[in-house]
Subunit: 413 residues, 2 copies
């Protein structure tokens, strides 16, 4: 954890409500960090549905392997989730797999739950085995500290999962028309963080949602939120978003898309995922600008996302934004390298409200001064129409500054 | 041009020989830069064969469009090549296309050559039209300065095509068994340079090589050299490599692969291309380390190249190398995100001569101290075996430092 909070951080941690069916504990286990909490446990009511999405890396961490396995083999229910920060338990071979199953076993035994209903996540340095003795010594203390959820518990949980994060990330939403909520916490300083497990999200609802539908809802929400952010194009070994539906508030299961509560639940879930995802970008390593990139006129929505990410990942675009330099030639370059259909001679570009180009040429009316005024703010909007179709997409990213180099060339935690 | 020369620069510009059939001129035309040469012209003997490879961007510059068009439509011969630095003539619409054809027309008229045998390249800022009056005023002076090639002329040419380059780039090789040479100049501070046309290469041989075979030879050489380097993953609008074979030294055309001179010519061409490509990496913006990444055990050579580039493009790997931090977990991360087959539990990693891991786990024998000793040098070698097949590839890159941010967040030229 850094001492300096990102200049793009929200003013305060949100006033998150308790969630029926979720009890929380955090503990300073000293697995790697000293003097701070590094373990998080949530115990879930019996019958809680679970859904998950995981990193696409070919070198996933042991906890990702564990979660995929129990999610695929199980009945779609979960009883707990455990997360440690400081050690990703990635690239640790059989020792890593053993440490993951030991963690689930220890928690399960103490609570009387099947270990294969216990979900795991780890975030931190890659390649170092988790110490078995520490797990045996510290996990019981974690279980002993269990308490009901509520704003202080949520904040402690969001703290305990941090690595290079400069602030704790939480978001919640009530579900219109249902006396239920969606509550989530996340960690990450972008899609990446140094050596780190990177992006983790744990989301809870007290609405009863059947597992298959819950997975559909989560996949849809992640596609529009966590999968639309980038800090520096590096993908971690451990990205994990888990969604748990305890169903404690309401008896009547939500199990098909025609249920009147479905749109309100999806909207609340989308809102929480997008809020958490944008908080991750706001904590992007070294970030001084929060940047929204919208691409329209692409061959498809997917093509628009690829082009928007090419712009958002480009080191040249990101350094220009850091410098508040309306260097739009770099945007043209990034569109060109994206490999998706784009009509150079129809390209239209906007920097904030200022239109730079139309039909592949700079406009006579374009004012670099007006574009620069927009860039001096800490929220930047770039829009490009590529002139070939109706596909569109928006992604969120940050600028690339000396701070990024300082953090990543100077830090191993 | 920066005042500070890259710490990875060669000791001196090579002692490049005159090349029969090539006459050179350079001129300070003031098209953008003041007080330095920014125009380069090479006049080529009648019957000179030409081959070219160009940027894969979907937003190519006007000179790239021009070269592609005359290369496709023509008879494979060229009479001149003209390059300006400071203005890429990219994203300039019809005005840009007009400026390109005017340039060829002015040079052709003065020399009595068909304008469609005159090849063009431009490098510099994107989106600003080239000034027609300046072209009409300065290009005749460029033609007037023509002189035979030779070390001073080559050096002046390599100077005139620079933008953010910190040193002039040249390389040459004799062709074994033939009284002929391959001589080349290039510019670029990586695959990218800020706002820039980026990578240009002009290569000449006095061996007579038939155009189709010349194109095959160039494509093969570029695949193993210019297409195996990366500074920051950004691809320019104007990347161009042109190869001219004047045939002035030898009467007997090289026109099939069974010619005994073919392997020697290809070897000389490969050597010149690789030397120039590596010089571009050595001038990578902000670079303090020259980095070779070799991937073996991939599903194919192409897959190995993708994985090697994922490592070489990763901001986290590059910042770790800048910090001389043997943070090999980031290499695992990059292999995982590359999207090519890799067997996590067979992964073997070397940093210089030090083997870090085997079978997906760090070795007991691994010494971070020994790895760090290797990283303190200015030439770093990383090797990864991904354990699935026989594919292999090597790419070259540089580290990512504060210098990169300084150059790209502070500079528009």
């Amino acid at each position: 954890m850094s001492d300096a909070v990102s200049p793009l951080a929200p003013e305060s941690f949100p006033d998150m409500p308790p969630l029926a069916g979720v009890a929380i504990s955090t503990h300073a286990g000293g697995l790697r960090y000293r003097g701070r909490k590094d373990l998080f446990l949530a115990i879930l009511a019996e019958g809680t549905s679970v859904a998950g999405v995981f990193t696409q890396t070919l070198c996933p961490s042991a906890p990702v392997d564990w979660c995929r396995s129990i999610l695929n083999d199980g009945d779609g229910t979960a009883r707990a989730v455990v997360c440690n920060s400081g050690n990703a338990n990635a690239f640790t071979g059989q020792a890593g797999a053993d440490a993951a199953s030991l963690t689930a076993q220890l928690i399960g035994d103490q609570l009387g739950f099947d270990s294969r209903r216990i979900y795991l996540a780890s975030t931190g340095v890659i390649g170092e085995p988790l110490d078995e003795q520490s797990l045996r010594h510290e996990l019981p203390k974690l279980v002993d500290g269990i308490a009901v959820s509520g704003v202080e518990a949520w904040r402690a949980a969001a703290d305990a999962i941090r690595t290079t994060d400069t602030f704790s990330k939480g978001a919640w939403s009530s579900i219109d028309g249902a006396a239920a909520h969606v509550v989530g916490i996340a960690k990450g300083s972008g899609m990446i963080a140094p050596d780190m497990a990177t992006m983790l999200g744990f989301i809870f609802t007290d609405l009863p949602v059947e597992p298959d539908l819950l997975q559909e809802c989560l996949s849809s929400a992640v596609r529009k939120s966590f999968n639309r952010i980038t800090v520096d194009s590096d993908t971690s070994t451990s990205d994990t978003v888990l969604l748990f539906a305890t169903g404690e508030q309401i008896d009547d299961d939500l199990n098909d898309r025609h249920d009147a509560r479905f749109p309100a639940f999806q909207a609340a879930l989308d809102s929480v995922c997008l809020d958490l995802a944008q908080q991750i970008v706001r904590d992007g390593e070294g970030a001084t600008k929060f940047v929204e990139v919208t691409v329209t006129g692409a061959a498809s929505d997917d093509a628009a996302t690829v082009i928007a990410k090419a712009i958002g990942d480009s080191p040249l675009v990101k350094t220009a934004l850091a410098a508040e330099d309306a260097n739009w030639g770099r945007i043209v370059m990034a569109v060109g390298k994206a490999g998706q259909a784009a009509e150079r001679d129809k390209l239209a570009i906007w920097i904030g409200p200022e239109q730079v180009s139309a039909d592949g040429m700079v406009l006579d009316s374009y004012s670099e001064d007006r574009a620069t005024v927009h860039l001096t703010g800490d929220e930047v909007v770039v829009k490009v129409d590529v002139g070939v179709g109706d596909g569109e997409s928006t992604i969120w990213t940050c600028d690339l500054t000396h701070g990024y180099i300082d953090i990543n060339a100077g830090y191993r935690s």
